[in-house]
Structure formats: structure tokens, C-alpha cells
Symmetry: C2
Subunit: 254 residues, 2 copies
DNA sequence: TTAATAGTGTCTATTAGACAATATATT
DNA sequence: AATATATTGTCTAATAGACACTATTAA
């Protein structure tokens, strides 16, 4: 009874929720180091949702896997190379795309830098790193995505979307991406995939706290991660205070 | 450039890795209660892989979500009603189905009983609950799926498949399902979705230990779960020992 | 010197595990 | 009585958090 030809076929896309850490020196106070969580979005150049922001992604091609498609689109569309990819879910509400029946397989993608090496000739007309903010409100917990001008692209409270200006169901996908990011950081040390090869303990803490919502003193944070780190001979060349030893992730720990 | 019609479309299926707990009285020793982890498989009645065991599932239809498709197929094909469903991944290797280009969106499905209410007229010609065994070997950890006669359908060590007799890439999907089941039980109390409304503390322990590999004394296991349980007025009508109070899951805990 | 972060050590509170002891069912 | 599980309680080990204190850099 179940001949493969008897069934209508949807279009399938692969989209990515790309997170990265931005380590910027704050202008004020002589260079306090801020390490901020960023999300990569693309301004759409074509219908539908022309001009809106959306996740980078594109259609799956015959002969490739979903992960290959996501990787290809990230390279072509946003100049993101060699990200860590974790599949987070396939979104399938029939009405999610006004063009027709399109499923989207979403990936959580992590980069070790927020430099956009937007290769010449790429589609990335407008790929931007947006600010991700996570705060404790009295109503619970909220997540906000804002552009550099401070405009809110997505605001969610307790995991439900209050407000957004994003294409398709991408707000939903971002929320799921952040939820998964938190889980993976909490339980599988995914925080290291947001770090460069060598990093200071303090480089770890701010992103960890933004993502998990768990706040600790620098001293106790150090102890918490001590068993997962290997000390190197390198030091940070930095600012108006003691230089920090650089560490590397201890392997053999999943 | 990206017209939706420009892209070839794959067929899309929804398959489920269905787990349940079998509470059987052992024949020997006057009825020691064994609570075993079971996996639901279907013997295929058609090509390809005719006669092999496979996950229950089927093709996505236009107008439904992947979850609706999984639910429908579980009902039709295996008589499984109202399971808890968690999407675990979409499998997309181009060669995974000899019939052509078929993606499979896999779900982890949990039932509160292993009774197959195989409705008359259903496709479930041969739906069987297989034994799931998880052991610590010197090489690490192994997972085995065996039928009632003791034949091994799947054997994996440290997450890599050693041996299997299952259709398509379903061995891989089962492994991913078990991995996810473990994570969800460890970090999100998914064990309760394998339990009936009312249960004794000891009903919880054996499945929890099989799935997580964490072994504790009955006393300490009780303490570990005390904060997540609400005592009821009901008791177990059972065997050659003190009756057990029945509990219910405390709500408000994710 | 001061400000700022890096890093160590110590004490305490909370949690997880070992295990003794008691309770209550059936055979 | 013997056995098997249920349930409570106590002690101890391991872990997580608070916080004092020292170190080192540049301005």
C-alpha cells in the first residue's frame, strides 16, 4: 500500500541558529572587557518577508545531508566557516511558509569568533550579529534579541513569544535554539565550542552565566571548571591588571 | 534566485523509537517483580527489507505536522495511543532508503504501558515489544535489543553499532533514541512519562537504573526522588511482603 | 598608589551515599 | 518463623557556595 510515489513531497530547508561570543572592550572605564552573546541574522533580500530578518539557511539539495546543507548555506550566505552544528528539530507546521509546503530542519550552530569573513560574491548582503540578552523578571525569565540600534527583534518571556519581527516561524526556532544551547552548556560542556583554542577562565564565565543564568563568584567559578581545564604556558596580553593564564579544554570529558 | 520550484523535493517519513516498561512477575522465586525496558518494533510486510524488523512509522501527508504523522502512524500501525513524543532528529543520508530520496524525522515515544491495543484492521500485523538490555563491559557500555527468543537485533558498544539486523538506518535511530532517553531522564525527569498515574517508588527505580546506568540503594533512591513525589492514599495490592504506598508525580517541576 | 582582575585557601552549608533499624506483607 | 520489600533515620563523604586574602599588571 505504501508506494513512495503515492505521497506528496514537501520542500525541505536547513536553517541555523548561530551563536557567537563578542569580546569587545567597553569604551567607558578604560576598557572593561565585555563578553556578549550574539546571534547571527540575515536581512532578507527577496519575498516573502523582504527586508525582515531571518535565520541563515536554504534549501536542501539532492545528494547532500541536512548538515551538509546547513554548512553550505552558512558558508555561502554568511561566511561562517566550520561551525559546531547540532540538529535541534524539524519545523513542520503546514502554514509556516507562505510560498507553500516547506519543512525547516533547524541547527544550533556555534562559532569561536564573531568575525564575519563574508567572502566576496557571497549572498550575505546583510548578515548581522545581534545582541542576545537574558534577564530575570518578576514574571520569570526573558530572552531578547536586539539589533545594534537597540530595536527589539524578538522578546520572549518564560519561553513564550511576546513580540517579534522575524520572518517565518524563525522566532520559535531561535527560542528552541537557545533552550537547547542552555541544556547543552549545562549538561554537556558545550560552552567550550564558543571559545577559541586558548582562553582565560574569565572568558568562560560571562558567556556561561548569560546562557545558563547561573551566577557565581569568580573564585568559585574557577573551582567549578578546574577539572575540565588544562593550564598552558601562555598568558593573556591585556589590560590594566594582572595577566591571565590561558587554558585549553581537557579532553576525554564529554 | 531561490524559487521554491527550483529545488527537488525528498519524501519525508516520521518514525518512532517507542519505549515502554514491562512489569512482569518472574516465574521463579514466587513472583519477584521485574520491570523491564522494552522497545516496540514492527516486522515489515513489504519491500524493501521484507521480514526485517523496523521502527513503526510512515510517510508525512500534506497538511499535517511531523508529530501528527508520528502519532497517526503509531495508532494505525501499532495501536499505541497518546504517547509522549519528543523529536530527536531528522536522518538524511541520501542512500538511507533504497527506494529513493527519503528523509526520516525520528521521535522518541514513551508509553505508560506495554499493552498493545492492536485495533482490528490495523497494519500492525506484527508489532512486538523487544527486550532492551544495557550492560557495563570492560570495553565500556553496551546496548542490546533482543527478541523474546533471545535473538539479537541490535548490539552496540560505546554508542557505535557492532551488529544489527534492522531495516534502513533504524539501528542508528534507535541508538540516538536511547541516548536522548537517557539525557531526558537524567536532566528532565522523563522517567515519569514511562509510569502510570500512580506508582510505587520501587516501580520507578528499576527503569531509572536501566536507563541511566546509575545504581543506588532503595533507601537513597527514595530520598533522591522524595521532593518530586506526592504521596497518595492508595496502596499496592501485591506480593509476599509489605504493601507499597502509591505516589503521583509532583507538578510544577520540569 | 590605586584600580582592576587573577588566583589560592579556608570555612560552611547543602547534597549524595552507606548502612542500621524497623514495619508489614505472604508463605 | 522466614523472607522479602517498604520506610525511616543516622552518620559520613563529597560537593557547592561565601568570602578572606594575596598576586600582578597598567595607569
Amino acid at each position: 500500500m505504501s508506494r513512495i510515489e503515492d505521497y506528496a513531497r514537501p520542500s525541505v530547508a536547513a536553517d541555523a541558529v548561530v551563536f557567537g561570543i563578542d569580546t569587545a572592550q567597553a569604551e567607558s572605564r578604560g576598557g572593561l572587557k565585555q563578553r556578549k552573546l550574539k546571534l547571527l541574522l540575515i536581512r532578507r533580500g527577496e519575498a516573502p518577508f523582504t527586508g525582515s530578518f531571518a535565520l541563515p539557511g536554504g534549501f536542501l539539495r539532492m545528494g547532500e545531508t541536512l548538515e551538509q546543507a546547513a554548512r553550505r548555506e552558512l558558508r555561502e550566505e554568511a561566511g561562517v566557516c566550520d561551525p559546531k552544528l547540532i540538529q535541534i528539530g524539524t519545523f513542520s507546521k503546514p502554514e509556516r511558509d507562505p510560498r507553500g509546503w516547506v519543512l525547516s530542519c533547524a541547527f544550533l550552530a556555534l562559532t569561536r569568533t564573531v568575525t564575519l569573513s563574508t567572502a566576496a560574491g557571497s549572498d550575505a548582503a546583510e548578515a548581522c550579529w545581534m545582541q542576545v540578552t537574558c534577564t530575570e523578571t518578576d514574571a520569570g525569565e526573558s530572552l531578547a534579541v536586539t539589533d545594534d540600534a537597540g530595536n527589539t527583534l524578538l522578546y520572549a518571556e518564560n519561553g513564550s513569544i511576546r513580540n517579534h519581527a522575524l520572518a517565518f516561524d524563525h522566532a520559535e526556532i531561535i527560542l528552541e535554539g537557545f533552550r537547547r544551547l542552555r541544556d547543552e552548556v549545562l549538561y554537556h560542556d558545550l560552552i567550550f565550542d564558543l571559545m577559541p583554542e586558548l582562553f582565560a577562565v574569565s572568558d568562560l564565565q560571562q558567556p556561561y552565566e548569560i546562557i545558563t543564568g547561573i551566577h557565581t563568584s569568580p573564585q568559585n567559578f574557577r573551582k567549578k571548571f578546574a577539572s575540565k581545564l588544562v593550564e598552558t604556558e601562555y598568558y593573556n596580553e591585556t589590560a590594566a591588571h594582572r595577566t591571565a593564564k590561558l587554558y585549553r579544554r581537557k579532553d576525554g570529558i564529554t
